[in-house]
Homo-oligomer: 286 residues x 2
């Protein structure tokens, strides 16, 4: 892990690292915020996965999470959204290829060599930060849009690795959406039975989640038809899955929406990561 | 004023406008945040002037001011840093021309036709927002770097228009710095006596300020030699000017620094804009 840049922020340190990913066979960038509390010992870690067109910088500069993480003594990690480099496959569309990995392990050409972002997050990057940064093994995960999809999928498939999960306007049901069918077909092939491991609504229906889930979704989100929050809410209700799903009046899909509720999400994770394994959730209905 | 985009943010509205500037003979963009309190009546307005290379978007997306403005019932305005357009003069350097106006009224070719940013802020934009947005005539002004220079200069020359002023890492003494001499020479000509009206340290020494001033400066600021905070602090001490000047340990020049202290600055202005004309300053020494 090489330091690319570092800035003091809310009493802690915001650092951009570069390192080699074995899974993606690429050099990757990621950003880490260590709160002031990390100077006196390891702290829990909250992962934030970003959405389409983003890299490791967007949420770091626009999400406003650091101040809340400094308050609650939580570290933050912002991975990139795909491998990058001259030999990495790409597509002219903004929603396929570089900047648009959907956090899957691709099995199809030309993607499969480098696009192993599920393994990158769960294996490579997790191992690197556990080994080299002052974080405990209590981890939460959140994300926005395609990154909300990634956060839900990675949490639901790895309940032993994550104690808490929340999402902002996630792609909730990609197997039934144009934000999903195109990409899952490209990365995983035409056999739709292979796609189910990357659909949060299907995964939650099959597996449930050991704790509760916080979901924020703006009612004026310009992409809401592609996100399909109704699929996720139906599963939550049918399974009696503990969750708080908030339809936020007149918020859109932007980081103005994300930053408006960043404080709530960091507090949600902090309560579960600093406290007992299955946090009781506070009153967040208002 | 045409609306270019609008997003709900912390319960209020973040809007990008475009309008015609008579002073700059150009169509200009600016951003306004109206807090929830503006729905029930006019609120005070805090101006934020951005630095070199920025436009109306940087502080809007990276400064983290909106949440604090929503808390305190203050509107925010983020002007662009220069005129833009095909016929607007420019220079290949990042610190002269487009994105680098220094908020002066240029008198020299090729700048003087469009680069009238001092008048744009004080006259055109102020008149437009006063006429069309729910803001009172109680205004504060702040800014970062070149925008801190602009905020100090505009406040000190217009004490009747601004009730409060604060700055983040301002260019404090441009007549004695390479961030200043080059630009003042280009925009105003070689007669240095014409430059004094755009040097905050000279202006404060000559005129003082009717209230107190909040200044934050990072000790690890990579541009601190160009900013010359020592000139401003010397004037403050010599004049016994009420002020709080904070040298913040290990902070650099980035928006990670600005956002870390945004809450303090908004609270500082709110206390002075919502309260009496000359606010008593709270304990901000820590």
């Amino acid at each position: 892990m090489k330091i690319a840049s570092q800035s003091k922020c809310f009493g802690g340190e915001m650092t951009v690292f570069r390192h080699q990913s074995d899974s993606c066979e690429a050099e990757m960038s990621f950003s880490v915020y260590l709160p002031p509390q990390a100077q006196s010992g390891p702290v829990p870690l909250l992962w934030f996965l970003s959405g389409l067109t983003c890299n490791h910088e967007n949420a770091m500069t626009k999400g406003g999470f650091q101040q809340h993480a400094a308050r609650d003594g939580i570290a933050l990690i912002f991975p990139d959204t795909s491998p990058r480099g001259e030999d990495v496959a790409d597509d002219e569309a903004y929603d396929l290829g570089v900047g648009a990995s959907f956090y899957v392990n691709a099995t199809q050409e030309p993607w499969k060599r480098h696009f192993q972002m599920y393994d990158y997050i769960v294996k490579d990057l997790r191992a690197a930060v556990q080994a080299e940064l002052p974080v405990t093994d209590r981890h939460g995960i959140t994300g926005h849009s395609m990154g909300g999809h990634g956060a839900l999928v990675i949490a639901l498939r790895n309940p032993d690795l994550f104690q808490s999960v929340s999402v902002f306007a996630p792609i909730a049901n990609p197997t039934q959406s144009d934000w999903g069918r195109k990409q899952l077909s490209a990365y995983l092939g035409e056999d739709e039975s292979d796609w189910a491991d990357y659909d949060a609504s299907i995964l939650l229906d099959e597996r449930g989640w050991h704790s509760d889930i916080l979901i924020d979704q703006g009612t004026s989100d310009q992409f809401i038809e592609l996100l399909r929050p109704q699929a996720l809410s139906a599963v939550i209700a049918r399974r009696r899955q503990p969750a708080v799903m908030r339809l936020q009046a007149r918020y859109d899909h932007s980081y103005f929406f994300v930053s408006s509720f960043a404080a709530d999400h960091v507090a949600w994770h902090a309560a579960r990561l600093n406290g007992a394994a299955n946090g009781e959730h506070e009153n967040m209905g208002a």
